[in-house]
Symmetry: C2
Subunit: 461 residues, 2 copies
């Protein structure tokens, strides 16, 4: 694809569409929109536009499409694969000013929002009504960004990923056409599932301007559990055995001793620096939960767990999960000035022990410091690989370790990305993962975006 630069004349038109103060070519604004939380090299756009309505988005896209100017939508910039970085220059469409909650349909457990709403704010608001939007990536992501990347997090094991909560979408296509897809009914077999096609498409097919989310009732009872193991093998074996019981924990997180150490320093906690499982269980009554927990305890004990803290109180539980959410910050804190390559593979459950084993050995044997953690119950393995940006050789070794781990996951029947999306960093694995079906994705992309203006350089090369 060939693209055009943004001309002065076009800037003037954009200013007439959205007001001049919402069109910026200032260096600091361009800089802020040049890099997400990943380690990828920054990319500078030519202009950042802050639309306030789908109509404005439509007019901007229409012109961009006609003039072949790349358009990259931007949420909160908390993504980890360079997903909203403007690889090919052009326009960044910062969606954060479209941040209204448009309709609270709590009678249907639904809410209609604009894409710039931050999910944590949404959950704060709905907690009084006993409802929540369960996918929880941790970082203060916008709902639009979560839909674009099909984000998920610690509670996805029980509650599902973002894709499982998207009921309707308003999307502006590259031509400027505005379409509404999906239904408010929880069941439907009516034609192709377009909502699911746009969810996780990382802004490569159009711009999402309105989202109807399903909400879940807040659990009336919950318990958090912390278990310490003598070895990684004991921990991963326990994960598998727990998942075979049929009990579905709300969360089942694995953290290796390096991660616990980093958390202890950053959060001033005093957790045992051993392979650890953080778990949470939700239920509609306490007696039922207690019976579940006794079975879990039995499994952990049979694998030599050295500590089992069940029924951690609300306050201690919040502190624990906050620590888990701050894993990334803890790693950054323990490795100031370093780059962190974040691995995000997922494998079939039975392969999780093997996957963890391979990932640890691979980094150890190549001399790259690694932090292993992840949403173990879903087979989702994260790993932070530390590299010095000034040490080119170490950087290359780090990337080789990364590549070997991702390829191993795919060869186990898994995926290059469990929840962060493809962005820039995972493009190179797409043929290995999808084979000829990648071609089908490309054909769909070309059908909906013939000029290739939408977030070019993502998912596909």
């Amino acid at each position: 694809m060939e693209y055009e630069n943004v001309k002065k004349e076009e800037i003037a038109i954009f200013k007439s569409i959205v007001d001049s103060e919402r069109v910026s070519t200032g260096e600091s604004i361009l800089e802020i929109h040049s890099k997400d939380e990943s380690f990828h090299t920054r990319c500078i756009s030519e202009v950042v536009i802050f639309p306030k309505s789908s109509d404005e988005v439509s007019k901007v896209l229409n012109l961009a499409n006609e003039r072949r100017i790349p358009v990259t939508p931007w949420g909160a910039g908390t993504s980890l694969e360079g997903n909203p970085m403007p690889c090919m220059g052009g326009i960044v469409l910062d969606m954060q000013e479209m941040n209204r909650i448009l309709e609270e349909r709590e009678g249907d457990f639904q809410v209609v929002v604009e894409p710039g709403v931050v999910y944590k704010e949404l959950n704060k608001r709905f907690s009084k009504k006993g409802l929540f939007f369960p996918p929880d990536p941790g970082a203060p992501a916008t709902v639009g960004g979560m839909v674009a990347n099909n984000a998920s997090g610690v509670q996805t094991l029980k509650y599902g990923a973002t894709k499982d909560y998207v009921m309707r979408l308003e999307v502006v296509l590259p031509t400027g056409e505005i379409i509404n897809i999906g239904t408010n009914a929880v069941k439907s077999s009516s034609g192709y599932d377009l909502c699911r096609l746009f969810t996780g498409s990382e802004g490569t097919l159009g711009v999402i301007t309105q989202i109807t989310l399903r909400l879940a009732p807040l659990p009336s009872h919950f318990t958090a559990v912390l278990v310490n193991f003598n070895s990684v093998e004991d921990a991963t074996r326990s994960i598998y055995q727990i998942m075979c019981t049929g009990i579905v924990p709300a969360a089942l997180e694995f953290l290796d001793s390096n991660v616990i150490e980093a958390i202890n320093i950053y959060k001033n906690t005093r957790l045992e620096e051993n392979p650890t499982l953080f778990m949470e269980f939700h239920g509609s009554n306490e007696t039922g939960l207690k019976e579940e927990l006794s079975l879990i305890e039995e499994i952990c004990a049979s694998n030599g767990s050295s500590l089992y803290e069940a029924g951690i109180g609300r306050k201690e539980r919040d502190r624990l999960w906050e620590a888990r959410y701050d894993t990334f910050e803890s790693m950054k804190n323990a490795n100031r000035g370093m780059d962190i390559i974040i691995i995000d593979t997922a494998v079939p459950l039975s392969k999780y022990p093997e996957m963890v084993d391979f990932a640890r050995n691979e980094s150890l044997s190549k001399g790259i410091k690694g932090y292993v953690f992840g949403h173990a119950g879903s087979g989702n393995l994260h790993m932070g690989l530390i590299k010095d940006p000034a040490d080119k050789k170490q950087g290359e070794t780090g990337m080789r370790v990364n590549d070997a781990i991702v390829k191993y996951a795919i060869d186990l029947g898994g995926t290059a990305t469990g929840e962060h999306g493809v962005g820039i960093g995972k493009r190179k694995f797409m043929t290995h993962e999808h084979g000829v079906s990648l071609e089908i994705m490309k054909r769909i992309k070309t059908t909906l975006d013939p000029n290739g203006i939408m977030n070019p350089g993502k998912i596909f090369f």
Copy 2:
């Protein structure tokens, strides 16, 4: 689109591809493949082919595509919207000989099957291993047909529809190209969700030749419940209040007194002929279930339930559910020689009482006998409208009632089809439901099937 008839020369080629005994032009075979369980007028194909491998499917499609011959895949013929009926003649591809279970991956709660496997057989086989494939349309459907139509049933409320269980697919495209899509990992954000695009596409994009399904652990404890109400309003109000508790029943079925009457005759049961809820609850232990039930009982009692049978034993429970599954047969039995128009709308939960009310009034006021039932907890309303095939005027009135009810559901934010698919019968509502986004579906169809050979006349006109 213009299509060609199947020529003698082509029959000879098909016989060389799949063996001559698996290519049939016999009248009785064509007849069997001319109509599913719906009331739509039969359509005769020119040849029925029974492939045994994806390679055979590929060669047949390749020739059909080159010669512009329509191809309609066929599962068990249990669908209710004419989905596998060969509207445009050509080839019916009966997939029932591809019926092997290829790989039992119970360690990952997964199984790989060919499309002709009947889901009831699959569940019989896996019940010994404590696993099951939850979507349960009732009729002895094939897995391939269920994937094509995104089938679901009574337990979808808790466990989800077929689409929620499809992990990987092998699909033969109209060109004959064989693609593999999806992943064995339970989480993925890797590119466009092609599995979800093909699931529910009713054979209009390609032929599914292999399916990897996720399985769920069989619940260790369950209770069935039967509740009788004095009025439909009391029943639908209870449904809504139950769903607001946050407790998710495995099944929450509504049946009006007409349905109960038909079941009593057909199944020789002695159920009270009042508006009734059938419910089932699953859990990992008994104490937890009991607490849930006491809350449910309280809600039903507050709405004047006249009978509450909780904890119905295994045998009685199986008999009850068998009766529910035989609703369609019971209606046919009570109305011999009549056609039954089956309505399958779904609406947002808060609109369910209003929807039931409208549907009943609409049929009553137009003098069309109606049976109201459905997967109430999911907002899915079924209704059987009885019409005499010899009475043209009644037939027209019946269709007008059908159309009014479906349109009303769409206007409430619902869908024309909760689980039966679009097929022939729901095409006329597609523009009303999807607006301009129907055009996007058509563009995708054209991209993947440029000659329009795959199941023409379904979903779209």
